[in-house]
């Protein structure tokens, strides 16, 4: 039962060691993972004859062409066969039995083997999705054709996902412009508790009162530039962080030759060193708790400027610090993936905040960033692009990173 809040843990029981479903994939099959990481439903298609491919392969099943490209395909289908697995030699699936799988005839023209949502059975029209499983690999799941409340309580989805429902969240910087909206969106999504870090408690700030009186919300001293403060909070919260959302960042406009070294250092201290301090203090406990029942540790979220995929002369050192943080986050993802904890990077276009005030629209409203993060958690994503600018830049980056770097020489403004 995942729709009732979990009981308190029995301290006499050992915390289960996180296990993973099979990890190995061919290079071709990793295409499913890349699509699932972004919440896209994509399969290979043949550039010569157009045949859609499944499972992923190196040559077309119809014409043997090796020119196969990943493309989004219609996600409708019908379940033509189903089975319920009651026994498995795989240590991960042994803990999740029984497990339902089935064959789905896709509207795109191929039959696929897929995990089945609890409300789906043979003969049903289904909505197919690519999801990351606990090992962080892309898998197919057949979902009911109509979204409903049953979505959140399905054990298969829950086992794969990072749904905030019943989970305890730490937002690292309450002062970030999106933190209040994020808190409310998480509570609306069923989060059990939202704790927020408050840096520099000796500096009064206007937004603080908005957190007062919110049930299940609390502020705690935390400054990601202070190793002692990060350690103290990690020690105090122990294994009570199921989702960590790092909203701490220091963004300032400026170039390279005329930029400010003190600010650049602050950007690195907050964006890069701060991430490393958080990872060292909170990461090991989260990694140990990835199979800890309904409110297991599930996700780590970083918020990065989308320009970190390339550069931005208008925010040179801020974006460089973001690029450093991104590289660190990818290594952290590799480390946490081994335990089954997902690292989501939310790439955002310029926020509609003080430090981006002279930039022209479109800008990302803090509330939109908050909603995109929570939606990404509900869908178990690894890569989220927030706002038109972020989506456009990411699209151009996928096609040709060097071309994007040239195009960015004029900056975003």
């Amino acid at each position: 039962m995942t729709d009732t809040p979990p009981k308190r843990k029995d301290p006499r029981q050992r915390t289960p060691v996180p296990l993973l479903p099979p990890v190995q994939r061919s290079r071709a099959a990793l295409g499913l993972t890349l699509a699932a990481a972004e919440g896209r439903f994509a399969l290979q298609g043949c550039a010569e004859c157009g045949a859609v491919q499944y499972p992923p392969r190196d040559a077309c099943r119809a014409c043997l062409s090796t020119d196969l490209t990943w493309r989004e395909v219609p996600n409708g289908g019908r379940v033509v066969a189903q089975t319920r697995i009651h026994a498995s030699p795989d240590p991960y699936f042994r803990e999740h039995l029984p497990w339902r799988i089935g064959t789905v005839a896709l509207d795109a023209g191929v039959p696929v083997i897929a995990h089945l949502h609890a409300a789906v059975s043979r003969g049903d029209r289904v909505r197919m999705a690519l999801r990351l499983d606990r090992a962080g690999q892309g898998v197919l799941i057949a979902l009911p054709d109509i979204e409903g409340s049953a979505m959140t309580s399905d054990p298969t989805l829950r086992a794969m996902g990072t749904d905030p429902r019943h989970r305890r969240v730490l937002i690292t910087d309450a002062r970030a412009p999106e933190s209040l909206a994020l808190t409310k969106a998480l509570l609306a999504a069923g989060a059990a508790e939202v704790r927020l870090g408050e840096p520099e408690t000796w500096k009064a700030w206007d937004g603080r009162a908005a957190f007062d009186g919110l049930a299940a919300v609390s502020l705690h001293p935390l400054d990601v530039t202070d190793t002692g403060s990060v350690r103290d909070l990690a020690a105090g919260l122990g294994g009570k962080v199921d989702i960590l959302i790092n909203t701490a960042r220091h963004e300032r406009p400026g170039g390279v030759m005329t930029g400010d070294l003190t600010r650049a250092r602050d950007e690195i201290e907050v964006g890069y060193m701060g991430l490393m301090r958080l990872a060292q203090a909170f990461g090991p406990a989260m990694a140990a708790r990835a199979a800890d029942g309904v409110n297991s540790a599930a996700a780590w979220v970083n918020i990065l400027p989308v320009q970190a995929l390339a550069h931005d002369p208008g925010f040179a050192s801020t974006v460089a610090a973001g690029a450093a943080a991104r590289a660190l986050a990818l290594s952290l993802r590799a480390e946490l993936r081994g335990a089954g904890v997902r690292v989501m990077n939310a790439y955002t276009g310029p926020l509609d905040d003080d430090w981006h005030q002279p930039l022209p629209p479109p800008k990302v409203a803090p509330k939109a960033l908050a909603q995109a993060i929570v939606a990404g958690l509900c869908d178990g994503l690894e890569e989220v692009h927030v706002g038109d600018i972020a989506r456009d830049l990411a699209d151009r980056w996928r096609r040709d990173p060097r071309l994007l770097a040239r195009e960015m020489e004029g900056g975003l403004s």
């Binding site: 000796w202 009064a204 202070d226 190793t227 003190t262």
Partner: protein, 259 residues
């Protein structure tokens, strides 16, 4: 060496005591907050290099980072534009003799308790002199406000129109400089009042005192343990090359009244 041996004897017997006027260097201790467009003062930070572990099995040590103006700290004349050309105006060139000297303490705590923006005026100084005698030349003057008893956000006392904390008026600073003081020290985060940007000149303690080649001390504590006159201040900044200031340990020697 009779004087020094007498001093040591007095300290051993407890008739001369050492008072610590210094706050602990702590990552949580407030630093001055400037408008967001300006460069900011770094807070105190420490990173462990090793702690009797694989990084160094028998020793523990930290790397520190901070501003010259973090925590209880000293302001050298070159800290302010008015003192930029002061001779020997940096922490490494100041005559070390000035780091030890007599100190007068003006008790302004009652006024500061009444108003966050309490401003020290010449009248307060003249009243103090009427009671304790003239402020001697080349003497430190410390302003006791009991502000060091404040915790958290109440210390900087930031509001949407800036910080609110006590400090001297331009006229008061001028009078102190007429007396020939060596330096001026406070319990607040700066030697100037929280709203001193609106004084004429702005930040008179910084502008006038450093312009006169004199020194500042701030973020002091335990001033309520000092007598109005008769104590000796020990305030030696780190010898930072070209330094505009320095965190430091500020001590005062006080004589206990004879039993």
């Amino acid at each position: 060496m009779t004087v020094l041996s007498d001093l040591i004897t007095a300290m051993t017997r407890g008739s001369v005591r050492v008072i610590d006027l210094t706050h602990t260097l702590d990552p949580d201790f407030p630093v001055i907050v400037l408008p967001a467009d300006f460069g900011q003062c770094a807070r105190f930070r420490m990173e462990e290099v090793s702690a009797y572990d694989h990084r160094g099995p028998a020793w523990k040590w930290h790397n520190l980072s901070m501003s010259e103006h973090t925590g209880t700290h000293f302001d050298a004349p070159i800290h302010w534009v008015t003192g930029r050309d002061a001779p020997n105006g940096a922490t490494d060139s100041i005559d070390p003799g000035v780091f030890v000297g007599p100190v007068c303490v003006i008790d302004f705590s009652a006024e500061s308790a009444r108003s966050d923006d309490a401003t020290l005026e010449p009248a307060h100084i003249l009243a103090w002199e009427a009671e304790h005698g003239p402020i001697p030349a080349d003497c430190w003057v410390l302003l006791r406000t009991d502000w060091s008893h404040r915790q958290g956000a109440a210390y900087l006392n930031l509001r949407d129109d800036g910080a609110h904390s006590p400090g001297p008026s331009p006229e008061a600073v001028r009078l102190l400089l007429e007396r020939g003081i060596r330096g001026f020290g406070t319990e607040t985060v700066g030697t100037d009042a929280g709203q001193a940007q609106h004084f004429d000149p702005p930040y008179p303690a910084h502008a006038l005192i450093h312009g006169a080649g004199r020194y500042g001390l701030q973020c002091l504590r335990n001033l309520d343990h000092l007598p109005p006159t008769g104590a000796v201040l020990l305030a030696a900044p780190l010898k930072i090359k070209g330094g505009t200031g320095s965190p430091l340990r500020v001590l005062a020697l006080i004589e206990e009244p004879a039993p």
